[in-house]
């Protein structure tokens, strides 16, 4: 039983890292603009599919990954400029509905470009899985955990110590003061969307070798990332990451210890419980208020 739990937890950590990257996208955009970006999951899908589409170019893998992440970041920026920015005077609800529209459009685009087939991609480094006590983690799983950990460190340094990062936080804390200080929150909205798109893309890319990439992989990822973001009160990145890992491990345990059918219910159950019991998130609100455009 303990062995089983260890294995389920380890697999859960890997899956949870992907949810965490998507959740951070939600949190970043929400913090800076007050919008919940329901197209977040599709950035992961695009990252994976673009990576596979660029495969035939025969470039070395790091270059292909960088190109794919770059392209999806541009898509995120494009989304902001083309659909959010023109509507920036509209109410938040309207903007959220716009993101739902973009989500559907991007998924439709994925279907048109790549059809319904799933596409495989080789793990980044070949080789047998690695033993951790009685459990096992695949090499790709290590890539997932490592990439997420590295990204978290980079993001933390960015937000805490870089000028741009502090500017983003300023917009989140108080858009009026930020504007008075010469910062343009609508410019920062562009940065937030681009950053979230890049994060989502990386998530989709490291995950694709494990689960195959298909045009509809973004839907379920977006949902899980959203629930994880809610577990962080939508504003606290640390809460979102911990929430994501917790959610994934809980899903695995529900499926592994009980019945596989329960896995689907876990995300909704957790969402329901969090909103009922602790809507401000498991760690409470992030060090900021809610942003705005």
């Amino acid at each position: 039983m303990v062995d089983q739990l260890l294995q389920l937890s380890l697999s859960g950590l890997a899956t949870g890292s992907i949810y965490a990257l998507i959740a951070l996208g939600f949190v970043t955009i929400y913090n800076v603009t007050g919008i919940i970006n329901f197209a977040q999951g599709e950035f992961a899908m695009l990252g994976a599919m673009v990576l596979i589409a660029l495969g035939p170019l025969g470039l070395p893998l790091p270059l292909t990954i960088a190109a794919a992440v770059g392209l999806v970041t541009l898509v995120g920026a494009g989304m902001e400029r083309l659909t959010i920015h023109p509507a920036r005077r509209a109410s938040t609800v309207t903007l959220i509905i716009i993101t739902i529209g973009v989500d559907i459009a991007l998924r439709g685009l994925g279907l048109l470009l790549w059809g319904t087939d799933p596409y495989p991609i080789a793990p980044f480094t070949p080789g047998p899985p690695v033993r951790v006590g009685a459990a096992v983690i695949t090499r790709q799983g290590l890539w997932i955990l490592g990439t997420t950990a590295a990204l978290l460190v980079v993001l933390w340094l960015f937000f805490m110590y870089s000028y741009r990062g502090k500017v983003l936080r300023a917009c989140a804390i108080n858009p009026l003061s930020a504007r008075l200080s010469g910062i343009r929150p609508d410019r920062m909205s562009l940065v937030a969307f681009s950053l979230s798109a890049g994060l989502g893309a990386i998530g989709g890319i490291v995950m694709a070798p494990v689960t195959l990439a298909s045009y509809d992989m973004g839907l379920s990822l977006g949902l899980r990332g959203f629930v994880a973001a809610i577990m962080g009160g939508l504003t606290n990145p640390a809460g979102a990451v911990v929430g994501a890992l917790l959610l994934a491990v809980l899903e695995n345990i529900a499926a592994g210890v009980f019945r596989a059918a329960y896995k689907e219910a876990v995300a909704f159950l957790v969402l329901f419980l969090i909103l009922l019991v602790r809507p401000q998130g498991i760690f409470g609100p992030g060090g900021a208020g809610r942003g705005g455009l």
């Binding site: 294995q7 389920l8 697999s11 096992v136 494990v210 592994g256 059918a261 896995k263």
Partner: protein, 395 residues
């Protein structure tokens, strides 16, 4: 005034045109397959095959009717997107509007089961390309329904023979949560009765699931000595890959849902060593010359296979269905089908004897609307990215 005349003329043309189309001196076959959706690895080869057969029939001028003249055949192809609702809609349209003589539908067990009431109510013969035994049983309620793939129970017979020969006593049975997976695992449980082999662990997963590690972890912990997987498409690939990723060294035995290169291509190195019972098509060249199916299979390979279009047992099922339909159609006059026409076509299908198709040698009867038994299959092992005939001598 001018506009009204124009509209009336159009209405007249349409009213006259529609019955003209349905009465055209041709045979019409409705063909529904899962060209998109999770079962597309089944539906796409089936669709490709149907298009090839259409070209062949066009080139010959069609099928010979009862009066000795050749009449054109039109195969109307629909995509049911792997969804039962769409299958039902497509079949209703084919019967009601297109007035087809016979329906071939569909690629999957759940979608085929969904259209059984439609065909039965309309009293139109239907040939399914799916494998669940429930499609043709109970025979009293399946008067109009036939199928061409071997049944899951035949598959189980082969799987259990192998397990017994290897002295394996405990297995884990993992199945996709739909009518196909359920029928397949029940078949296995049924055949295992009285053999002393125990199903140490049984669980299911969804067609669209991407993470089967919980089920695999429990399977590993159960002490099973072999993994029996009942799945098709992406889920069959993912569970195989993840089994290998988890470091499972148990023999992995699939059923005939993986009879396509798609499985090998997508599973990569994880496919190595996978064993499954399948129609003889995949290893046609490796069969002994005395095998009664070998010639028909090699003919089919020549007909269908190209470097871009590797052979697939699913294309085989479609071919068998179309050939059987063609044989039955040749006994009735073309044109708008009547109740009498449908009944004669149905009788024609039921009367098929000794037809060497790709799935086996078909002998249909009033009690058996599949017409195959387990002799139609062999065990195949995936080695070096290809299918290798795995006869008992090599076990």
């Amino acid at each position: 005034m001018g506009a009204r005349v124009f509209v009336m003329l159009w209405a007249l043309i349409l009213v006259l045109g529609v019955p003209l189309g349905a009465g055209a001196q041709e045979y019409r076959i409705g063909f529904v397959a899962a060209i998109t959706g999770p079962a597309s690895s089944l539906g796409v080869p089936e669709r490709d095959l149907a298009q090839l057969v259409q070209k062949e029939w066009d080139a010959k001028g069609g099928i010979t009717g009862p009066d000795g003249k050749r009449y054109p055949v039109k195969i109307i192809i629909h995509d049911d997107e792997s969804k039962a609702d769409t299958t039902v809609r497509s079949v209703k349209k084919l019967i009601g509007e297109d007035k087809v003589h016979v329906v071939i539908a569909s690629s999957q067990s759940p979608t085929s089961l969904a259209v059984i009431p439609v065909a039965t109510e309309a009293a139109v013969p239907l040939i399914s390309m799916a494998s669940s035994h429930a499609i043709v049983t109970p025979i009293k309620e399946r008067f109009w329904i036939f199928k061409t793939p071997q049944s899951n129970i035949h598959v189980a017979l082969h799987q259990v023979k192998y397990l017994k020969a290897k002295g394996l006593k405990k297995v884990a049975s993992l199945y996709v949560n739909d009518a196909f997976g359920d029928d397949s695992r029940r078949g296995l449980a049924q055949v295992l009765q009285g053999t002393g082999i125990e199903v140490a662990y049984e669980d299911k997963f969804e067609q669209r699931d991407t993470d089967m590690t919980p089920q695999l972890t429990k399977a590993k912990a159960s002490g099973a000595q072999a993994l029996i997987i009942h799945a098709i498409g992406p889920s069959s690939v993912l569970i195989t890959r993840q089994a290998k990723d988890l470091g499972l060294t148990l023999p992995i035995v699939h059923n005939h849902g993986i009879g396509t290169k798609f499985f090998i291509q997508q599973s990569g190195p994880a496919a190595e060593g996978v064993i499954f019972p399948i129609g003889k098509l995949l290893v046609a060249e490796q069969l002994p010359d005395a095998d009664p199916q070998k010639k028909a299979l090699l003919d089919f390979v020549r007909f269908y296979e190209t470097p871009q279009r590797p052979r697939s047992t699913f294309a085989g099922h479609a071919w068998d269905a179309l050939q059987i339909a063609g044989m039955a159609l040749g006994k009735v006059a073309p044109g708008t089908p009547t109740k009498e026409t449908y009944a004669r076509i149905r009788d024609g299908i039921e009367g098929v004897k000794n037809f060497a198709g790709t799935g086996g040698i078909f002998n249909m009867s009033a009690e058996d609307h599949v017409g195959l038994d387990e002799r139609s299959m062999v065990l195949v092992r995936i080695e070096g990215g290809d299918w290798k005939h795995f006869p008992p001598e090599k076990w």
